[in-house]
């Protein structure tokens, strides 16, 4: 009751602030400094007089006693009374017997007066500041929100009369102007030419003044500022946006600099940390332990979710969560907060012993080759997590895991189901709202104990945006204007990126930053973004006509259909293609280049055929050059021609078409000058013919192949070895030094073809036999491909592993003569049906 009355009174009397206005900050300062200094000066001089007049052993004692005597001199108080009281306390009692400054009453009065003025001014100052603070907290409806000192600074400076002037003089205004790429001289000119004066207290209630939006609105009421903005082509919205951007930037800086901030606290050694001897072996590889993240700035919105997770975990130690969020990063932030809260949980002590581990889905998928390995690794990881009994396993990017599992023919949740029911393991599956794979499977969320949907990330995303922009700016030494940031977000769709996902925005921003860096642009404006877009779009058009991410998915499918048993090659090619599309948006000159290792010639050719068809259409053929014919010194002239003589093979082909695939086989046999030529082609995207004409190679796809590297020695039984084998082969070829190192490093993708094995081999043999059967069908012979034929072709009954060429040889040497034999044996029949049985080959 009393408080509400007080509040009402303070509200009504807010015009009291006019005192604040009447007595400007400067004059208040002068007054307080003047009176303060005068009083202190008088104190010291009188003390000095006393010291010089009377010999005292210590100065400090004299000052103390002097202060006491000074107050004793005030009329109405008898010095002797005080003296009698003070005698036992002070050793220099004799001082009080002398009436030291009895003749200085007037100066004493002035001294006291100045002291009073000083105290009064300070008190009023405190009162006014307190009013400001209390009002600002009322506006925000949340007392926990910190008052922005920046805004207070600007507002207290308005005593000069002009809020715009003080805004642009403050650090806040200067940074806003920078963000809008307004140069300093223009601001100076604008301030000096201003005639009108805006005082916020004249037309804005105190209650409306403290929010940031209101401040920018007040500033925008000024016609001359509007004129300046329109002259510089800056919209009001951009101006307001930049102010809020700076506000967040400053908040972040304060967070980072605060001595008791989370970032600083995280550096302190945490006493009471517990150490566990981990039983988990596989988990360490895929799911390293998540440290409680004190570095994450406190966000109430995130805390709500982590608190929910905590409370349900406290009730049920095996609670599983299905977390749907707008961004993967933010979901992890929730998990981070959850980790912190677990550590301090008082209600459930066994929860405190739990450890959060984040499953590295991408790493896991990279290391998994086949369906068997997928199942084995995934289940063993989960089993180990369960065995530890104290693990909360977080599976981020669950959508990707589901898709990959589907590719291998698994339903991930049928694998997860026993673990979801387990009492010793808590599972948290994170889903991105952008990847809506969970929507197609309605039953999914019901397997979990709690579903947490986080869709209030608008503000947080802004905060994240500020963080990522600041990071990129620091890295490249550039500044993004607010308009350019807006344009980047709007143009995300052009690059096939999601404008609501911070990771995607960051990726585009990084590309723009590297573009700006290479073009020596220090302040990135929206025109630069236009330039960047036009450059990147034109290159992608030139290089691969109408080629987008959907086509890459199609390409992957057709590669999987055609090339059997080389999933590692396909995934590497596809991922590097994706990478090229994402990163090489503006450096138009470098073509896509590929190095294929291994001895599977047929498979390499098949890969190139599929690539050529998808990139350049069905009718386009690729140029094949076997470099074993180009080992001598004259080979370069055969490729690029001679001055005044014949044109080279390569230059002739390039003068006719500038799009397509060039396949250089047996790269290690090529002469160093030829390798240099290929290097120039793949890096600069340009070669010069002997006649001086330059040929554009930027729209080519360069594929090189070498049969180096001992791929035969692979042990298929050992999955671990298989994972490392690719790297081993690549290093082997690199260390052979038959291919120039710079050329080797310039390839976008290097991959190894392994000899097919087991079922893969049978499938290849089957497909070759089926094509033969089709050919025979046209002659009127029906040839049924059965397992006996396939078994004979792949040397099933022989120990050594055949190569694909051997399979073809087997078909020609064993199967075809047999077919002819049978056909001849059944003369007279119009339709010849041939089906072999095991007896035919015994």
């Amino acid at each position: 009751m009393i408080m509400t009355i007080i509040e009402k009174i303070t509200y009504k009397s807010r015009a009291i602030l006019s005192i604040d206005n009447a007595l400007t900050e400067k004059s208040r300062k002068v007054l307080s400094y003047f009176f303060g200094t005068v009083s202190i000066f008088l104190f010291i001089t009188t003390a000095l007089i006393e010291l010089t007049t009377f010999e005292l052993s210590t100065g400090a004692a004299s000052i103390l006693s002097f202060i006491l005597s000074f107050f004793c001199l005030i009329p109405g108080i008898n010095i002797s009374e005080i003296n009698s009281v003070q005698v036992p306390l002070l050793p220099y009692t004799n001082i009080f017997n002398l009436n030291l400054i009895s003749g200085m009453h007037f100066w004493n009065g002035i001294m006291l007066g100045s002291l009073i003025v000083y105290i009064l001014i300070k008190l009023i100052d405190l009162y006014i500041n307190s009013l400001k603070y209390s009002n600002s907290s009322k506006i925000e409806n949340n007392k926990a929100i910190n008052v922005s000192f920046q805004i207070l600074k600007i507002l207290s400076a308005t005593n000069k009369g002009d809020i715009i002037k003080s805004f642009f003089e403050s650090e806040y205004g200067i940074r806003t102007a920078n963000r809008l790429s307004i140069c300093e001289c223009e601001i100076q000119e604008f301030i000096s030419s201003r005639s009108s004066v805006i005082d916020y207290s004249n037309f804005v209630g105190l209650y409306n003044v403290f929010t940031l939006d209101d401040l920018s609105k007040i500033l925008l009421r000024d016609i001359s500022l509007k004129g300046l903005l329109s002259r510089l082509n800056i919209s009001d919205e951009d101006f307001m946006l930049s102010i809020s951007f700076i506000q967040k930037e400053i908040e972040l800086e304060i967070d980072n600099e605060r001595y008791f901030g989370r970032q600083s606290l995280s550096k302190w050694p945490r006493i009471g940390e517990r150490l566990y001897h981990s039983f988990t072996h596989t988990l360490d590889r895929y799911a390293p332990e998540l440290e409680p993240a004190y570095t994450i700035t406190k966000d109430d919105r995130l805390s709500v979710f982590s608190e929910r997770m905590l409370s349900s975990s406290e009730n049920n130690l095996a609670a599983n969560f299905f977390l749907i969020s707008d961004s993967h990063d933010l979901a992890l932030m929730i998990i981070n907060r959850f980790t912190v809260r677990i550590g301090s949980s008082l209600n459930n002590l066994s929860l405190r012993d739990k450890r959060v581990r984040v499953f590295d889905t991408k790493m896991f998928l990279n290391q998994v080759y086949s369906a068997e390995s997928f199942e084995a690794e995934f289940i063993s990881s989960l089993k180990e997590a369960e065995a530890a009994k104290n693990i909360i396993l977080v599976i981020p990017a669950s959508a990707i895991l589901i898709e990959d599992a589907k590719r291998y023919g698994f339903d991930i949740f049928s694998l997860l189901e026993p673990f979801l029911k387990s009492e010793h393991l808590q599972l948290v599956c994170i889903f991105d709202t952008q990847q809506k794979s969970y929507e197609s499977e309605q039953y999914l969320p019901h397997l979990f104990n709690e579903i947490i949907v986080n869709n209030e990330f608008d503000i947080s995303i802004e905060r994240l945006l500020v963080i990522s922009v600041n990071k990129i700016e620091k890295k490249y030494g550039i500044t993004f204007t607010i308009q350019s940031i807006k344009k980047v977000i709007n143009s995300c769709k052009l690059f096939d990126r999601n404008p609501n996902n911070i990771d995607d925005i960051q990726e585009v921003l990084l590309n723009v930053a590297s573009f700006a860096n290479s073009n020596c642009i220090s302040i990135v404006k929206d025109q630069d973004i236009d330039k960047f877009i036009s450059l990147s779009s034109c290159t992608s058009e030139n290089k691969f006509i109408g080629f987008d991410s959907s086509k890459i998915i199609k390409l992957e499918q057709s590669l999987l259909n055609v090339i059997v048993g080389q999933d590692n090659v396909i995934s590497k090619v596809i991922s590097s293609l994706n990478n090229v599309f994402r990163t090489r948006t503006y450096s138009s000159k470098k073509p896509f280049s590929l190095l294929l290792l291994g001895k599977e010639y047929n498979l390499k050719i098949k890969l190139i055929e599929v690539l050529s068809e998808s990139f350049f259409g069905k009718n386009n053929k690729f140029l094949y050059l076997n470099l074993k014919d180009f080992r001598d010194i004259k080979s370069l002239s055969r490729l690029i021609g001679t001055l005044g003589g014949k044109e080279g093979i390569l230059t002739e082909a390039l003068s006719e078409v500038n799009k397509g695939i060039i396949f250089f086989d047996e790269l290690h046999l090529a002469h160093s000058s030829v390798q240099q030529l290929i290097y120039e082609m793949s890096v600069k995207g340009l070669i010069h013919g002997a006649s001086g004409v330059s040929y554009d190679c930027s729209n080519l796809v360069i594929v090189c192949a070498t049969s180096q590297g001992n791929t035969e020695s692979l042990n298929y039984e050992n999955m671990k070895e298989m994972m490392l084998f690719e790297d081993k082969i690549i290093n082997q070829v690199k260390n052979n030094n038959l291919i120039q190192t710079k050329l080797f490093n310039s390839f976008d993708c290097i991959t190894v073809f392994f000899p097919p094995y087991g079922d893969d081999l049978r499938e290849i043999a089957k497909s070759i036999l089926e094509s033969k059967s089709k050919a025979l069908n046209s002659e009127g012979i029906i040839f049924t491909v059965n397992e006996y034929v396939v078994g004979i072709v792949v040397n099933q009954y022989v120990d050594s592993l055949p190569r694909i060429t051997q399979i073809e040889q087997n078909i020609e040497k064993i199967i075809m003569p047999k077919i002819r034999e049978k056909v001849l044996g059944q003369q007279g029949n119009i339709i010849k049906h041939i089906e072999f049985s095991i007896e035919d080959f015994i």
Partner: protein
């Protein structure tokens, strides 16, 4: 009138909001101090061993000496934990007491401040007139 109402407003503020604010500030300092020494964390796991050693059940089961050595290890680590945490907690409590004593004395001074201003102004006037 507005100017006249100012002293009343001020006095109301001085003896209500401002006094509360002083204790809020003190509480803030105390929060920062307890945060600095991680008092809550230290109290919550006061008797915990400094490093928890977990041995598998199968290893400890039936093996008396393993169990004995394990429990000894735990005791030793607990003792180290307590001896490390205790000084920090005592220091934190001491700092908190200091903060509250200071804030109480400041609050007392704050209560006397308007009276001292009045008293000093009277005495200055009399000094000037003498």
């Amino acid at each position: 009138m507005k100017v006249l109402s100012f002293p009343i407003q001020y006095i109301l503020w001085h003896y209500s909001t401002a006094l509360v604010n002083i204790f809020e500030i003190a509480r803030n300092y105390s929060w920062a101090t307890s945060r600095f020494f991680s008092t809550r964390l230290l109290l919550s796991n006061f008797f915990n061993p400094i490093h928890t050693v977990i041995e598998s059940d199968s290893y400890l089961k039936g093996n008396f000496f393993a169990l004995l050595s394990h429990s000894l290890k735990c005791w030793m680590f607990s003792f180290i934990g307590v001896s490390l945490r205790l000084p920090a907690i005592i220091l934190a409590i001491f700092c908190n007491i200091l903060i509250y004593l200071l804030s109480i004395s400041i609050a007392l001074l704050w209560l006397l401040l308007p009276f001292s201003v009045i008293y000093l102004s009277f005495s200055s006037i009399t000094l000037l007139l003498v």
